[in-house]
Structure formats: structure tokens, C-alpha cells
């Protein structure tokens, strides 16, 4: 009986690992191949002559091709620029989200307000809006205001996703913090603002750090707004740079390498977040949604 259970668990884990890792492995596999091998059909399951040249070339360097004996030039996609723009946008989004959503989450989680349910409904409503339905009017408005093709437009768009969501998450987090400490600080002579800044926020620091990290990831991952607002302009972020390769029918091996580099940030954040995610009391699954 015990052994039977063990076997089921082992088989389950094996299938789970295969299911999760094969699509990722396949991209890595092709990213280490030279052009000729990447187009072989049926494909090789391991690169014959593993190479880093695709990575170098997509970052704008030249690389020596061992097979043909020639030096190949840069691939000519703005991957590096995309990474820099993405970093600027995502950091700005994370900081502004933390600044606006922390007090708002505190109020929603702790204080009594008239029409609070209506506000809750609006918060969740903004989450359930189809991205396309917001994108279409935003684009027309953005065109008129000159927000298309610069990172400020994109930052505003991303804030429209992160702030309502993060307020919703922090609301639950603040509600779960002990209220006694805050009361004590008020009795000891703090005013409301002081007790918020010096007592409540420091207690909530893990939660605030988590929403900063999540906001960063959401902004970094967001595709639709980034594509429409920055594609083909100097403000282009990483996801549109990568996607435009599909539309320009780029080399499979170069694209694979560029896309692998795009996965590094989410992988690091995932590992950082994994220890945390079981400790966040997931009362509502929306709290770990990142799309």
C-alpha cells in the first residue's frame, strides 16, 4: 500500500516535471544551435556543437561561426535597448505603485468608509476588464495626447493595471496585521500620519516588498499595451522587440537566444518569490495573478 502510493507520487512528479520543463528546454536547446542546425528537420534533441554566438549576436556583438569559419555580424535587433527601456518602465511602475497602493490598501483594509463595497467592486471591476477593451480607447486618446511612442504613456498604462490589483492584495494584508500595535502608538502620542509611517508600514514591509516585486514583474511581462504603444519607436521595451522578430520572420536560433534572455528576469523573480508564496495567506487567488 505504501509502495503503491510512492510509485504514484514518483510517476506524478516525473510527468509534472516533463510537462513544465520540455517547452522551456526546447527554447534553450535551439538557442545554442548554429543557423543550419536550428533549421534541421526533424530537429536535434541536443545541439551538436553548442554555441553562445546567438546570444552575442542578438546583444549586438559579432561572433565566430565554427561551422562556416566566418565571423557573423550583430543580428540587428534592439534587444539591449529593449532591456534598458523595460527596466526603466518596470522600476518606475513598481515605485509609483508602492507609493500609491500602500496607503490606499491600508485605508481599504483598516478604516470604515462609506460606500466601501462600491469601491471594492470598482477595484475588482478594473481587474476583470478585458485588456483589449481598455487598449482601444487608450490608443485613440494616447494619439491625441502624444503618449504613443514614449515610455511615460506606457508607464501610465501599466499603472492602470498594477495599482488596483496591488491595492486589492494589500487590503487583505493590512487587515491581517495586529491592530493593537497601531493603537498603542497612537496612545504614545503619534498622530495618524506618524503611526502610519513609523509603525504600520514597517510592520507591513514584507507585503509591500512583495507587491513591488509583483508590479515589476507585471510591467516587465505586459505585452499588449507595450506592443501598441512602443513598437517601432525608440521607447520600445523588451517584449515588443522580441515579438517583432516573429513578424519580421527572424532567424529561429537568434530569436530563441533573445527569448531565453527575456526569461531570465521572471525565473529569478519566481525563485525569490517561491519561498514567499506559501507564507502569503492566499485568501483570494487574485493576489497572485500576474497577467
Amino acid at each position: 500500500m505504501v509502495n503503491k502510493k510512492k510509485i504514484v507520487i514518483i510517476i506524478g512528479c516525473f510527468l509534472l516535471i516533463l510537462w513544465t520543463l520540455t517547452p522551456i528546454y526546447w527554447l534553450f536547446n535551439i538557442s545554442f544551435m548554429y543557423h543550419a542546425e536550428a533549421y534541421t528537420s526533424p530537429a536535434h534533441f541536443f545541439p551538436e556543437k553548442p554555441t553562445l554566438s546567438n546570444y552575442l549576436r542578438s546583444l549586438g556583438f559579432s561572433a565566430y561561426n565554427e561551422l562556416s569559419g566566418q565571423v557573423e555580424g550583430p543580428a540587428g535587433y534592439p534587444v539591449k535597448e529593449g532591456l534598458i527601456n523595460s527596466a526603466i518602465v518596470a522600476i518606475a511602475v513598481a515605485i509609483i505603485t508602492v507609493i500609491i497602493a500602500s496607503p490606499a490598501g491600508y485605508v481599504m483594509g483598516r478604516l470604515r468608509l462609506p460606500h466601501k463595497n462600491l469601491l471594492l467592486l470598482l477595484l475588482l471591476g478594473s481587474r476583470t476588464l478585458p485588456p483589449v477593451a481598455v487598449l482601444i480607447p487608450f490608443y485613440v486618446i494616447g494619439l491625441k495626447l502624444g503618449l504613443v511612442g514614449n515610455i511615460f504613456g506606457l508607464i501610465i498604462m501599466h499603472l492602470s493595471i498594477t495599482i488596483p490589483l496591488m491595492t486589492w492584495i494589500l487590503m487583505g494584508f493590512f487587515a491581517s496585521l495586529p491592530i493593537e500595535v497601531e493603537r498603542a502608538s497612537r496612545i504614545d502620542g503619534c498622530n495618524r500620519l506618524q503611526s502610519l509611517l513609523y509603525v504600520v508600514f514597517p510592520m507591513a514591509l514584507p507585503g509591500i516588498a512583495a507587491i513591488g516585486l509583483l508590479s515589476f514583474l507585471i510591467s516587465y511581462n505586459e505585452f499588449l499595451f507595450a506592443w501598441i504603444f512602443t513598437q517601432g519607436t525608440p521607447a520600445v521595451t523588451l517584449q515588443p522587440v522580441l515579438a517583432s522578430m516573429w513578424f519580421m520572420i527572424g532567424e529561429l536560433n537568434i530569436m530563441a537566444a533573445a527569448n531565453v534572455m527575456g526569461l531570465i528576469v521572471p525565473i529569478i523573480i519566481c525563485i525569490l518569490f517561491q519561498k514567499y508564496i506559501m507564507k502569503l495567506r492566499i485568501v483570494d487567488p487574485v493576489s497572485i495573478v500576474i497577467r
Binding site: L16, S126, T128, A133, F223, I277
Partner: protein, 292 residues
């Protein structure tokens, strides 16, 4: 400080001001504007922007054969994607709830697809499912199971594979939520079940399921909501094709606006989508608040 003179409510509203401002200008106003757009023939390529009343909606419902197609594809995709991702999430949660060595590592691995962008997921599956250099077709061919390299993204089956890619991406979300709910089940119940010699299915039916019923409904609705509004996955993985076989409503609204430049018509389609999503969202809201 001046905050001393404020009541709790006033202080609260002061801190909420940026949020309310934001909800109004970044969600409310664009939605109203989009409704206005849907009543015009705003078209950048033709340079028109006249008020035409409900003509877009009339054409959509009565004159456009693609509308019914899109509804059908959306329904197919949403049902399939919801069922696969929910069941998969449940399976992963049940597995990870067991005690075994290396569980922490497997948890991190399983969480990976959650952290990837929809764009990245679409790209991964485009490589994975490609006809000539794809993993699946190469594997089947190399093992001698097929005589030729298979094209998976056909008119009949492309939408099923998009649903699979969706499930790959979204299942960890459900899995971790269900896992959090599994871990509050008292250990005693399982001990009692052991004494009563309950088998695996009885244990699932009488101990686990009662605890998971509400979380399962919550995650089902959430998966459903995200599958109905999904556009990026379709755009990158299939581009709505082959033909119009994967043209879900959200992708169709996108394509009408940003490929055909008829923003008026695209806005009208997106409003149909907003109504569907709002209904699902309201159901979600009432269930989540009722559970609390």
C-alpha cells in the same frame, strides 16, 4: 499636523484620492470613450469619424458572419481552457500536498510558467509545436510513430493547442491557491480515514472535496475570466488562424482596431466582450465576498 483635524473618513479618503483619481481616469473614462467610439465609424486608414448610432452593433449582430464564428471559437476555447487548467491545477495541488523528498524544488519548478509573460508562453509553444523544428513533431517522427512531420496548428485543432498553452501558463496559479486551502485540512481527518480503511477515492470524495468545493469554484471562474479575455496568446501563437479558426472575440477586436484600423467597429466588439467579462466578474465578486 493638519491631519489631527480630520475625521477617520476624511483621512481615509485623502489617502484614497490618488486611487480614485486613477480608477476614474484610467478605467472609467476610457470605457466611456470606448462606448462613444463604438457609436462612430472612427477609422484611421479611411480618415472617418462620424457618429453613426448603433450601426456598428447592428452590423455586428446581423450582417457579420465572423461574429458567430468568433462567439463559437471563444466559447470552445473558454470551456476547454477552463476545464484543462482547473483540473491540472487540482492535480498539481494534490500531488504537492503529499510529503516527499525534493518537494520544495518541484514547487519552484511548477511555479515557473506562472512567472512567464503571455508573450513568452506563446513563443515557447510556437517553438514546441512547430511543424518542422518543433519538439512534438520531431519526437513523434524520430520514434517512428508518424510517417511525416505533423502540423498541430490546423484549422480543426489549433484552438485546442492554444488552450493547452493557456493551461500550461495558468494552472500553477490555481495549484498554489488550492494547495493553500488543502493545507488547512486537519490531519485528524486523514488519521480517522486510515482507521476506517477509506480508499483514495473515498478520501478525496469525503475529506478533501468538501474543503476544496469553494476554492475550486473560485479558481474555475477566474480561469474562465482570463480565458475569455485572452488576446496575446492568440496574436503570437496563431494570429487568429489558420483562416479564422482561432479568432476569439478579444483577438478579433484587436485585429479590427490595430490591423484594419476600424476602431469604431473594434470598440463595438470589445463592448460585447466587456459585457461577458463583467457578468463573470460579478459572479466572482459575489462568491469571493460571500466566502469571507
Amino acid at each position: 499636523m493638519f491631519t489631527k483635524r480630520l475625521t477617520d473618513t476624511q483621512f481615509g479618503l485623502l489617502l484614497l484620492l490618488p486611487l480614485i483619481f486613477l480608477l476614474f481616469f484610467l478605467n472609467g473614462y476610457p470605457l466611456v470613450y470606448s462606448f462613444w467610439l463604438s457609436l462612430t465609424n472612427y477609422d484611421i486608414s479611411r480618415g472617418t469619424s462620424d457618429f453613426i448610432g448603433f450601426l456598428n452593433y447592428y452590423n455586428l449582430f446581423f450582417n457579420d458572419p465572423y461574429f458567430l464564428n468568433s462567439l463559437r471559437v471563444t466559447l470552445h476555447f473558454a470551456i476547454e481552457a477552463t476545464i484543462i487548467s482547473t483540473l491540472l491545477g487540482l492535480g498539481i495541488a494534490l500531488l504537492l500536498n503529499e510529503n516527499f523528498r525534493g518537494r520544495g524544488l518541484i514547487r519552484t519548478l511548477v511555479l515557473l510558467p506562472w512567472a512567464f509573460s503571455t508573450y513568452a508562453v506563446a513563443t515557447l509553444f510556437r517553438y514546441f509545436l512547430a511543424q518542422n523544428v518543433g519538439f512534438l513533431s520531431s519526437l513523434l517522427y524520430s520514434l517512428g510513430l508518424t510517417k511525416e512531420m505533423i502540423n498541430f496548428l490546423t484549422v480543426e485543432h489549433a484552438i485546442d493547442f492554444v488552450a493547452l498553452a493557456f493551461a500550461w501558463n495558468i494552472a500553477p496559479l490555481g495549484a498554489f491557491f488550492l494547495l493553500a486551502n488543502l493545507q488547512v485540512i486537519p490531519e485528524d481527518l486523514f488519521r480517522q480515514a486510515k482507521i476506517d480503511r477509506a480508499n483514495v477515492f473515498q478520501r478525496f470524495r469525503y475529506i478533501i472535496l468538501p474543503f476544496l468545493k469553494h476554492p475550486l469554484i473560485v479558481i474555475l471562474i477566474l480561469n474562465n475570466l482570463f480565458s475569455v479575455t485572452e488576446a496575446t496568446l492568440i496574436l503570437i501563437l496563431t494570429g487568429g488562424g489558420p483562416g479564422v479558426s482561432t479568432q476569439v472575440l478579444s483577438y478579433w477586436a484587436f485585429a479590427q482596431s490595430f490591423i484594419n484600423y476600424s476602431f469604431g467597429y473594434g470598440a463595438a466588439i470589445s463592448w460585447v466582450l466587456v459585457l461577458i467579462a463583467t457578468i463573470i466578474g460579478l459572479i466572482y465578486f459575489f462568491i469571493v465576498t460571500k466566502l469571507k
